[in-house]
Symmetry: C2
Subunit: 195 residues, 2 copies
DNA sequence: GTCTATATAAAGATAGAC
DNA sequence: GTCTATCTTTATATAGAC
């Protein structure tokens, strides 16, 4: 299996387009022919870069997780307080959702999990674990600093926050609403704020 | 367009099976042939009951909303306190999720909204509106009775709670976790509880 | 209402030439 | 790396007989 860090220029272009199509239509919602047309080659040429659709999806999820991780580290680096970091986190989702209500790649793939290859499902799981680990660390920090009023464990708050953001995009899309991730994040952060 | 209340026995059977397949695989994840085999007729006979797949999906969403509404009214009837009613609400999602991590029909369709007929998207929107209206009423009641400590409007809490439950199923499915809706509901309700 | 037969289109994928 | 040609399967849908 190819790794996302060793992709040719065309392979990377294909991963770019596939990522966008998954955000808009899901794994089952795009074809190699769609990809081919968008990058300007023919369908069999796509197979040269990615033998199967499952492999392509796996690489998309891998690279998406990696990029997300990089952005999480960037938020860390700013040294802001826990609440500000959690809001910056929500903004990562907002940035995707802003583009015509696109979903998180792994949120979409999570919904489609019953129809993905095992390799892809492993990447999806890793994405969520990565996010929960990072969020748990932030909530732990908030607990130590008494920066938020937490009624349950940092792990529990991490789960609730992630679920609310993923769900905000699903429901928001279903109702054609804008600004959903940020709105929901603000409601939760307010309710966890110290008086 | 046929209404779900005037379906023949076979049409109803088809809607039953279609509902289950949407919960597991989504709109794009099942075919008329899948349906036909499950109910024991041939593919063209399915078209006799539902000319198009889009029409079938619309009826599935309509009936799903109607049933959900009935269950909401049943929760009302028990006269419990707001927190207990919100927990009973979360249990409606849990009951679906318990069945091998099935998603809410309209959560799944919400994710697929870009590839649905307008008629179906209208039903999906109605489902969410119905839920938000009901939840808003409960949170309003909680506010009046000081049964919960709310940092934002009842509408805002309704949105956050619904998003968290829908997202809990998506993330939980992506990580192969059980009991997600109820767990997330408890975290939020605890954090909104009066000290 | 259900069937067989069929039309039509699209999908994932491979073979082999350039 | 990309192409044309092709295979195979599946999907939505229709025509028309029983």
């Amino acid at each position: 299996m190819k790794h996302f860090s060793e992709l040719s220029a065309m392979a990377e272009k294909l991963v770019d387009v596939a990522e966008g199509l998954i955000e808009q239509h899901g794994y089952k919602g795009f074809s190699f022919d769609d990809l081919a047309r968008e990058v300007g080659i023919k369908k069999p040429s796509v197979h040269h870069h990615f033998p199967t659709k499952a492999e392509l999806a796996t690489v998309v999820a891998q690279r998406y997780s990696h990029r997300f991780h990089t952005q999480l580290i960037a938020i860390e680096g700013k040294g802001a307080n826990p609440k500000a970091r959690l809001l910056a986190y929500a903004n990562l989702f907002e940035q995707t959702y802003e583009k015509n209500r696109r979903l998180c790649v792994c949120g979409m793939l999570g919904a489609e999990i019953n129809d993905l290859s095992v390799e892809t499902t492993i990447e999806v799981r890793k994405f969520f674990e990565l996010n929960l680990d990072w969020l748990t660390a932030i909530f732990s920090d908030a607990l130590t600093k008494h920066a938020l009023r937490l009624s349950a464990s940092p792990e529990a708050h991490a789960r609730a926050y992630l679920a609310a953001l993923e769900g905000a995009m699903i429901v928001g899309r279903g109702m054609t609403l804008n600004k959903q991730p940020i709105l929901i994040a603000q409601i939760l952060l307010d309710s966890w704020s110290v008086a």
